[in-house]
Amino acid sequence: MSHSNWGNYPITDATEHRFQPGMNPSELNGYWIPRGMGRCYGDSSLGDSMLSILPLNRFLAFDETTGLLKAEAGVTYADLLETFVPKGWFPPVTPGTKFVSLGGAIASDVHGKNHHKEGSLSSHVRSFELLLADGRILHCSPTENAQLFEATLGGMGLTGMVLNVTLQMKPIETSLIALHSIKARNLDELMDLFEQYNHVTYSVAWIDCLSKGNKMGRSHLTVGEHASLEQIAGTKHAQNPLKLPPKKAIPIPIYFPNFALNNLTIKTFNFLYYNRQFKKEKKSFVPYEGFFYPLDMLLDWNRIYGKRGFTQYQFVIPPENGREGMREIMTRIAQKGLGSFLAVLKTFGPQDSMMGFPTKGYTLALDFPITKKLFPFLDELDELVASYGGRIYLTKDVRMKPEMLEQTYPRLGEFKALLKELDPQQRIRSMQSERLRIHE
């Protein structure tokens, strides 16, 4: 059967097996890779055969006083939110979609809008059980099989399959976000605002990547905190402060034709999006859903990019090069006119893990439809990113060259050596790991 991930590119013929307890992956034929919801953008969870964690989706234990949760790795963020928000607990770190499994989130070591304050998912995972290629199951934590623990968080599923996770949840008083949205006229203004609001837990900026000159980098910065009971006292929300947001989703029933997205439609969208807020600043209380998962309301929004598919380019560059690097890269993108209609800028705090993406700095994510011109252009951007000491996110990657990975992930050698030691035959492989020559 044909399979693809969220970017609808590449599409590959592969066999998907459902994982069942007691299954020994050493009995599978050929190479295999663990798979969750298939929400990575490129080829990270595609391979000859894929072992789905989704049948394992039970909550195993929850301590209502400490918020410590043990769950099977096929549980999704949607499950987490639905079950725990009404009890007053929130995932400690959440990616921009709730349709990912915990296992996938660990493989990607996902980050959210709070990385600068609270780190990536790896800072909140206490332990997990990992199924190795030879069928052994190891308990991993910062003190037990510590190297494997670190390598698995951000290891793109290549160390084995996470079966269950013990995770520290975060207490909340309400399901609302106290939101503060500020418009920035250009990149400099935005960077100043990021510094000014660095103390707020969640922050993210949407950037118009097609505007040039002194408007380059015009954007909206939104910062937010989980609203407290005190803050919402007297409002209509106070009656049911932990209410789940209504489940309303608009399906995108068809793939849009390729011409639907062009510079004109993207410029129009960006103009409207930038000007949706008339005032310079706005404060409000909003349900968490729209703040964390704005695109989840459009089911199958990837179809907007048409059948040709799309990719997301996400890089991070260190703070000392941040302004200069970001300006140069954004100038290139605006000049090229390969528009992206949602570009998102965030900041990362310090992190140094073996394969996890985040490192201190600024991170920008842009969507691009797959076209002939795209990959050579992204190779050029790679060079720039590397020259500023940055790197790109493997979960979004579909085309990086092995040299770029080698150059920008300094602990890659340690990771490769560990994989060889764990599984001398290197049976766990994805299209991405082969493309990036991780097994050589």
Partner: protein, 261 residues
Amino acid sequence: MAPETQNPKHGTQNPKPETSSILILGAKSDIARAIAHHYAQAGHPLYLAARNAARLEADVSDLKIRYGAEAQALEFDATAYESHAAFYAALDPQPEIVILVFGLLSEQEEADKDWAKAQAMLEANFVGAASILHPIANAMEARGQGTIVGISSVAGDRGRASNYHYGSAKAGFTALLSGLRNRLAKKGVHVLTVKPGFVDTAMTEGMDTPAPLTAKPEQVARDIAKAIKKRKNTLYTKWMWRYIMLIIKNIPEGIFKKLSL
């Protein structure tokens, strides 16, 4: 034990749905899990029964954490016939609704080569079902209330080369359910026959089933709950299978024997 007097105004037939307990036989399958979630969410206490019940403990904690549901894991083997009467008698309180989900499907080609595989399908799908429904039907008849739901299959509607051992056992099961319905309807006991078509589960893994005809387990669970509420006799899920099977049943045997379906 005489059935309670049945006064329509103080009907004893339909106990409050949120409190009535439910027994799910074969609780490890994907359809069974979807049914358990559906009823746990509505607040029903659940008995989850299957072989190797220790593996059901994860489901018990899951239902408790998600919905605050009361659930209990029980050891049950469909082909340990002699244990069935005692298994059911030991349930306290007795379940108001029994949903028989267990089933066994092996490759027909393997069953053609190996009688043991064919026999296992006949036993689990038919004899096992008949055996456990024996004490259940008697108890519900005596109580004058209760609901029996059997997950049969469209495969039982007509024997086909591709799965005739499975299909014939399910045909037997369908006939058993209709016989029980005929016997128990007058006694206030509801019997529902469920005939799923393709369902996206471990059982159909690797089969490339056509999407419009393939149901998700959650949809099957919702359809079953609705059919229980409406006291339906036979449920096809997805609904179009009723018409597909109507056509398949009406193909003359002379033509049918030459088809590969």
